[in-house]
Structures are given as C-alpha cells and as structure tokens.
Symmetry: C2
C-alpha cells in the first residue's frame, strides 16, 4: 500500500468547549490547514465533503457557529425540492450533477412537482387531469382559476438539513475536522479567528477562547451573512444581498404521495401530513431592515406584510388560503423564517462562488441551492484542488 491509498483517519469533532482544541503544528509556510471552510450549512458541508474527494490528504477544518444543522440558517427551512421545472436549459447539467449528490447524501423521495397556471402553457394539461388521483391536492385549488398544470414527474423531495449533516459526517469519516459552536471570521492572508462559544448559567453566549488559525485557502460559506462578513472583515464590497423568507404552515391534509404544488411563485410543500408554504422572493430586503409582522386591516399577523399581500392575491386561486387553515400568527416569532442569500442581489440567480482575495473564496447558495447548490460546491472544490 502506498501512503496515498491509506484509508484516512477520521477527522476530529469539537462540539463544545469542554473538548480541548489545539491547532496542529504550523507548516513551514505558517499554515495550520490547507482549507478552512466557515459555515456548515449545506453549501459549506457539501464543499468540505467535495474537498475530501477532490483533494484527499489535505488538512481540512469546517467551522460552524451553531450546531448541525444550525437552527437559524436557511438550510433547515429551505423547501428541499429538486426540480428542473423553473430552470433554463443550460442549468440542466448542473441540476443533474446536483441530483447525484442529493441521492447519495440527502435521502430523497420522489415527489412530482406540479406548476399551476391561469392559462395553457407549453406541455400543460387541464389541472383536473394533472391532479387526478390527488383529491387532497385538488381540494386546495380553484381549477376554474388555475386551469392548467405542468408536471415534473422526476422531482425529488429531501431535507437540506439531512443533506448537510450527512455530507459533514461523510467528510469527517474522510478526515475533515469539525468545530461546532465556534464563531469564525476570515481575515486577509488566510487568517481565521475562531471564537469557541459557550453559554453561561444566565443564558448569555460568551467566548470561551479564541484561536488564530491560518489556512492556504479559506471559504466563506455563511449564507446570507457572508457578504456582510466579507465587507466587515476583509473590506471587500460585493453586490450580493439577502431577503427574509417566512415559511408559514397551512393546515390542509397531505399524504406522503401528495405532489408539491407551485402557483404564482408560491410553493406548497407537503410536510408532516399538512403543508409548509414557501412564498416567492421578489427582491432583496434593504440594508437595515428588521423583519416585522404585518397588519391586515388592523389585525396583527406574524407574517410580514409583503408575504401577506401575496397570499391575499392568491386567495381566489387557492381558496384554502382564505380559511383558518393558513397559520398567520400574531407576531414574527410565530412564523418560522430565515434570511436567504441573493447572489448578485438577484432572487433568480443560481448559486455562485467568487474569489474575494488570493486566500479567500465566497460560496453562496441562495434560492436555487436546492437544485443547483451541490454542483456549485463540487465545482468549487475541484477548482480549489487544482490550485
């Protein structure tokens, strides 16, 4: 056996500050790691795994501010739908490469994806025909308004959080190291400061210890926070932006075989015997915007006003939205929500990566991460392994 074919020793995991961390000895060039990946959402996790494959025998550290999956990130709230329904033709190859990774790591289940239209569309059939065999689904819709439907029969449903967790665990088995509950910041020249966080008995989050680490290359994969961090720590200004997306609950019955429904930008995602709604993202939210619950003719709701207006506009097409089945909440905290990165400030942009400086790369998923993110992470890993 040559050294290159040795099965690697699994990486270490530092989950809490009770587990002492000592950086590995610096190499002659001053680096402790080949790659430090900041952020173990799905993009960072998939990248780390892809690096173990594209660049085996390298020293890899993945750092995550929370646990796995992080409950404040978009990974845990993303719909987890793989579908080519809303892609341009030249995105199909990336979608199929992503699908292979989702099948390996995401425990997907087949779930048809049905886009509903108010007029005939290429490949559409009458809505009643498309939903034959799905009376629960048909009951949500006014087929007199949403008259036509197109079906992607090859769509998949999966949990992005599961994908991230499996990717991370597989990466660890392949030798990558993982630090959880650690707030990391990128600095010029591949320096990363890592603050290991702990909670006091008065529930304050404090820094237990700080490590200064150096890597040949750092990948910033902190999702909607990444552009701000790039600017704050590296002084590099980008035009990426973010939007706050809420995912309200619709208490209408679904079954494990119910299709995903999509109408006018709204996705109705069958989950737990009911539906999770994923509203359209129309544009960025401005800098300084703090999400706030809305009002509908004086009644406070937990849904932000813009989403509320979109749902009201859809009530003719989806009469169930006008019933108490839609959980409006009373304040923001009643409705799950998270910030979604918008690459280039564009809600339709695919995932992207870009060099920030010679030692740092930004990796962003965004609204198309479900279908295209795994390929983008893999592509970046191959590029980094080649350098």
């Amino acid at each position: 056996m040559t050294p290159a074919s040795d099965p690697p020793a699994p990486g270490q995991v530092w989950a809490h500050v009770g587990q002492p961390f000592t950086p590995p000895a610096a190499r002659p060039d001053g680096t402790h790691y080949d790659f430090i990946v900041i952020g173990a959402g799905r993009m960072g996790s998939l990248l780390t795994l892809a690096l173990t494959r594209a660049a085996p025998q390298t020293r890899l550290l993945l750092i995550e501010q929370g646990g796995l999956p992080n409950e404040e990130g978009h990974t845990i709230l993303a719909p987890g739908l793989w579908t080519t329904a809303h892609l341009t033709h030249d995105q199909h190859a990336a979608a199929h490469a992503s699908r292979a990774l989702i099948e390996e790591l995401g425990q997907p289940t087949p779930r048809p994806h049905i886009t509903l239209h108010t007029h005939p569309a290429p490949g559409s059939v009458p809505t009643a025909d498309a939903l034959e065999g799905h009376p629960d689904s048909l009951a949500l819709i006014d087929p007199g308004v949403l008259t036509h439907a197109t079906t992607d029969p090859h769509a998949l449903a999966y949990r992005p959080g599961t994908l991230a967790l499996n990717a991370t665990q597989t990466a660890i088995r392949a030798g990558a190291h993982l630090m959880l509950n650690t707030r990391a910041a990128p600095h010029p020249a591949g320096v990363v400061t890592a603050e290991r966080l702990t909670v006091t008995n008065t529930h304050q989050i404090i820094t237990h210890e700080t490590h200064t680490l150096r890597a040949r290359h750092v990948i910033l994969a902190t999702g909607a926070d990444a552009p701000t961090q790039a600017e704050h720590h590296l002084g590099i200004h980008t035009r990426h932006a973010r939007a706050y997306q809420q995912t309200p609950h619709l208490n209408a019955p679904s079954t494990p075989t119910s299709p995903t429904l999509h109408a006018a930008g709204l996705t109705l995602n069958p989950q737990h015997g009911a539906y999770t709604l994923h509203p359209a993202i129309h544009h960025r939210d401005p800098h300084g915007y703090a999400p706030t619950g809305g009002h509908l003719t004086g009644v406070p709701t937990g849904l932000r006003r813009e989403t509320l207006e979109d749902l009201v506009a859809l009530m003719d097409a989806l009469p169930t939205l006008a019933t108490p089945a839609l959980h409006l909440g009373r304040s923001l905290s009643d409705i799950p929500g998270s910030w979604v990165a918008l690459p280039h400030g564009n809600p339709h942009a695919p995932p992207t990566h870009e060099p920030l400086d010679p030692h740092t790369t930004l990796l962003l998923g965004g609204p198309h991460a479900d279908t295209l993110g795994p390929h983008t992470a893999q592509e970046l890993a191959q590029q980094l392994a080649g350098t």
Copy 2:
C-alpha cells in the same frame, strides 16, 4: 348674465389656527362640500384645479397637513422632468395632455434629456456627438463606457412644487377653499375629520381643534401615505407600496442650458449650477423599513446602502461619482430624501386613481408623476364631475 357665468368669488384660505374656521351650513343630504381633496402635493393641487374647471359652482375644500409646498412630501424633491424618453407609445397622449398643464402652471424651461447607453440603441448617436456643445456634461462621463446617447430635444424641466403652488392658487381664485396645517383623515360615507394643528412654545405639534366635515366625494391624494391611510381609516386594503428615494448632491458644474443626463436608471438633474442625482427605484421598500444610512467598507454614509451600491456600480461610466464631488453625507439627515408612492407596488407604473368606496377615491402619482401626473388628475376630475 346667468348665474352659471358669474365669475366665482375666490375661495378662502385658512393657513393657521388664528383664522377661525366655520364649516358651511350642511345641505339637505348632510354634506358640507361637494369634494374634499386631502393632500396639496402636485396630484391633489392639480385635481382641485381640474375640479374647479370640470365642475364649476361646486363647493371644494383642499386640505394639507403642512404648508405649500409641504417640505416632507415627494413633490418638492421630484426631479420635475417632462420627457417621453422612458414611456411606452400608448402613454404619449397622456404625456402631451400633461405637458399643456405644465406649460400653463409649472413655469417650465426647455432642457434636452439625454439617455446614455453602453451599446448602440434605436436612434442613438455617439456620446461625444450628442454632447457636442456641452463640455461640462461630457466631462462627467467616460464616453468609452457610455458610448451611445439618445436625445429627447423636447424635454422640459420644471419645479413640481411651483406647479402645485400655482395650481392651488389658480384653484383658489376659481373658488376652491384651502386649509393648511390641518391633518385630515377619510372615513366611510364621505366623512372627513380635520385636525387643525399648531405648535406650542415647546415646539410640540398639537391639535388645536377638530372638525367633522362631510363631502359628496373625498379624494385621498396624500402620496406615499395614502395606501396606509386607506387601510387604517377605511379598512380598505390595497397593493400600492412605497420606496424611500434619496437625492444626493453632485458638486460638478452645470449651466442653465446643460442637458439632463440619464444612465442606468440614474438621473443627473442640473440644478443651482451643480447636479441633483435621482437614483433608480428598483422595487418597494418593505413594510416596517426605517431608512438608514449605509456603510461602505466601514465608513458611515448618509446614503442608504442600496443607492450607494448603484452609484458604486456606475463609477466606471460616470467617474465623477468616485470623487469628493459626490456628497455622501455621514448620516441619513445629511441627504434629502422622501417616500415615493409606487402604484400597484410597481416602480414603473403610471399614476393611477381608483375608487376605495362609493364616496372616496385614491389618487396616486408615483415615479411617473412628472410626465403623466397632470393628465391623471385631470382625467379623474372629469370623471368625478360627470358623476
């Protein structure tokens, strides 16, 4: 002489609470006025004047929360440009009808409007040719980036505040009444509550007295505030929205004959020997957004972040934006700004009016009010006079 051809007595003006106000005696149907117009920005002023013409011999009251022109509204900050450069063909008739009113009331001056392009466009000429004779203008531009230009030689420059003031004064001479410094709210059945405001010697704004008035018809013309008022007071939910637009100062020399320049959504408006910038409005601001100054790689600015990003993106095309000539400010209060109504939430929508209930109509100007607003006000007056 028949009574109908008598020159009307001029209307009354109540500018401050020292001038006692007594509503006219109610008529048999309980109304004090035929029309109450709330808001004396340009839309409300033009509507009031148009009503004196379309429905003479009617009782008309125009109510304004501030003075004339109101320093917090968009009327005073709007660019005041009449141009067909960015209109669709079917908007030209409305633009020309508006132009006639602007020429009557707005004291316009001819000012060519030049749209700059990075590629040849229909009717374009090389930028250097279009700006021959305007070396000051050419000095702002990199003609290697903005290579082509289209000129609207028939464009006008005017002050929307002057237009509003002249429209109101002409309406008063024709018999309309005006209450300033009065906060009015529309209620169902044509009821308007009018709070006459005054300032205490500790600089607090308080209500001096409240009047409850009734009109056959109420027109809500309070600009960016109107949709919220419609919902709050009438319980009528609309999809109109608003955006906060700042108008920073560019200290580059202009002359009274300098053309207006427009590039990538940004308008450079020659004013007072320099320029006022009118940045593009891309989309609504979310409910609950409080405008805030931005940061550029850590340095605070008075310009909001989104506008700053747009200006940074234009620095290659307009190198002067990268110099201290651009007044960035240090905090929000350094940069003039106002909320602009976005009819239907759309930054490209023309001005609009719509009935809210049988006794109340909403009138909205928005981003195209400079070129199309006067016609919309006139059209609504003719419609109301016919009912």
